[in-house]
Symmetry: C2
Subunit: 252 residues, 2 copies
DNA sequence: ACAATTTTCAAACGAACGTATGATTGAAGC
DNA sequence: GCTTCAATCATACGTTCGTTTGAAAATTGT
């Protein structure tokens, strides 16, 4: 049996069919993953302890090591479990945008990027903590972004870049990459600060407002990408192969 | 003598003039603040221990409690010490933009927002970790954003909103606030991911590229704000006073 | 020179951490 | 029914954490 890098106890094709024991194990794993997702979204990786997670999941502390191997592998499992469907939905919307127009309309590309995250739901249909978790991953210290983003976003980024190239012909790919990073920044900041800003402005996240928010971000991102494209057409070309500046501080 | 909330040992007006002892204490505080800034920027609040900081500063572990009171107060001191001059520079550039045109040009407002952060330097004139620290603060779990942003950014935000109102007349203030949040997101993501993306695209941060980056972000933000303004002029008005959706997970 | 104060130091405390382990319980296989 | 295996449990380990404390050193004030 081949073990995935993060679900050690999980049975696979070729093992005996599931019985009560395996159903129980699967239920334990789900509870751990659900609790970990909520707590990692709220408190980050270092701010969440395994005791917090297992207390909220109602399972034994050692269950994390039994099923996932380590805290690191649990975190990775949480992220991959939940990012994958959102990114799949992103690609579906992108493909729909590409079928509807050639090249695709920039606002449709932007909406494909934004909407599946803003409208992510948990399994009961309620608001998910997933957007906050996704937003937080980028800021996690300790090299998590470098490990997770290529894994969970690399292929998606490549597809979006392809669409942007067709929607904004002549713009260098590096600029489009920056445009995608800026767009991700718009989304992330909204997800991290949406609650705080919502309380300040007296507006709360509701389903109706989710749609408005998607449109608001889509408008900003679409115009921003066009503005970037125009400015790069008028401005000087970028230099290549520069040396990196010195960085201080040690890696943990 | 009135103690500030974070520098307990610091002498103030009315105390005896500085002597060697106080110069030594001031040097100790600076070393702690410098080391803490680098480590908090790289590893975040929870991922940085006091032992890390005091080892890098070359001081005794207890010095943190003696001079700052606690780890929380040290973090707050680091943030306020370094954000304030950057925000002051932002306001200077904003005032210059307002003097040059009435209403101010949107790209000048955007540049005033972005440039002081991107071009922040440490005291030796080298690249600062300050941008990364500023970017990271928003993502810090544990209520840091709610505590820090009003303190370090509230007045600055109000001034920028005022300029945006004049540069984009007729746009509701709440939309301008979202626009500012999106703009901050563009900046933050660049600061957090700039190294990673730079390595991917083969371009590194150099001074020449800092200026290009400022222009690139300025172009994106300027166009994005206009796009947002236009879309709100065409789209439906926002509802007010909606109920907040349910949120899961407990506060730590 | 001495007392008082400030600053720094080494060490310790209680709490919490992630990981590991042997024991126990429950389920599967014969 | 018994053996084997999987899953869960209580407990413990070594390490690390932030904070505190009494002692020592340095500085200031008289």
């Amino acid at each position: 049996m081949i073990e995935t890098p993060f679900e050690r106890g999980a049975p696979f094709a070729g093992t005996p069919s599931s019985g009560e024991s395996r159903a129980r194990a699967a239920a334990t794993r789900e509870r751990i993953l659900d609790a970990a997702e909520r707590l990692f979204a709220e408190h980050g990786f270092a701010g969440t302890s395994l005791r917090d997670i297992t207390a909220e999941a109602g399972v034994n502390l050692a269950a994390v090591n039994y099923h996932f191997g380590s805290k690191d592998e649990l975190f990775l499992a949480v992220v991959i479990r939940r990012f994958e469907p959102v990114n799949r939905r992103r690609l579906e919307m992108l493909e729909q945008a590409e079928r509807q127009a050639d090249p695709p309309r920039l606002e449709d590309v932007a909406r494909a990027f934004v909407q599946p995250v803003v409208e992510a739901r948990d399994e009961e249909g309620g608001w998910s903590v997933l957007p906050k978790l996704m937003a937080r991953v980028v800021g996690e210290p300790g090299g998590w972004a470098e490990k997770i983003l290529p894994l969970t976003f690399g292929a998606v980024a490549a597809r979006f870049l392809g669409s942007l190239e067709r929607a904004l012909p002549g713009v260098p790919r590096a600029d489009l990459l920056w445009g995608l990073v800026f767009s991700a920044g718009v989304l992330s900041h909204y997800l991290l600060l949406g609650d705080l800003i919502g309380r300040i402005t007296g507006r709360w996240m509701e389903e109706a407002q989710a749609a408005e928010t998607v449109e608001r971000m889509t408008a900003y991102i679409t115009a921003g990408l066009r503005g970037l494209a125009v400015s790069q057409a008028h401005g000087g070309r970028e230099k290549t192969g520069g040396k990196r500046g010195k960085q201080k501080g040690k890696k943990r």
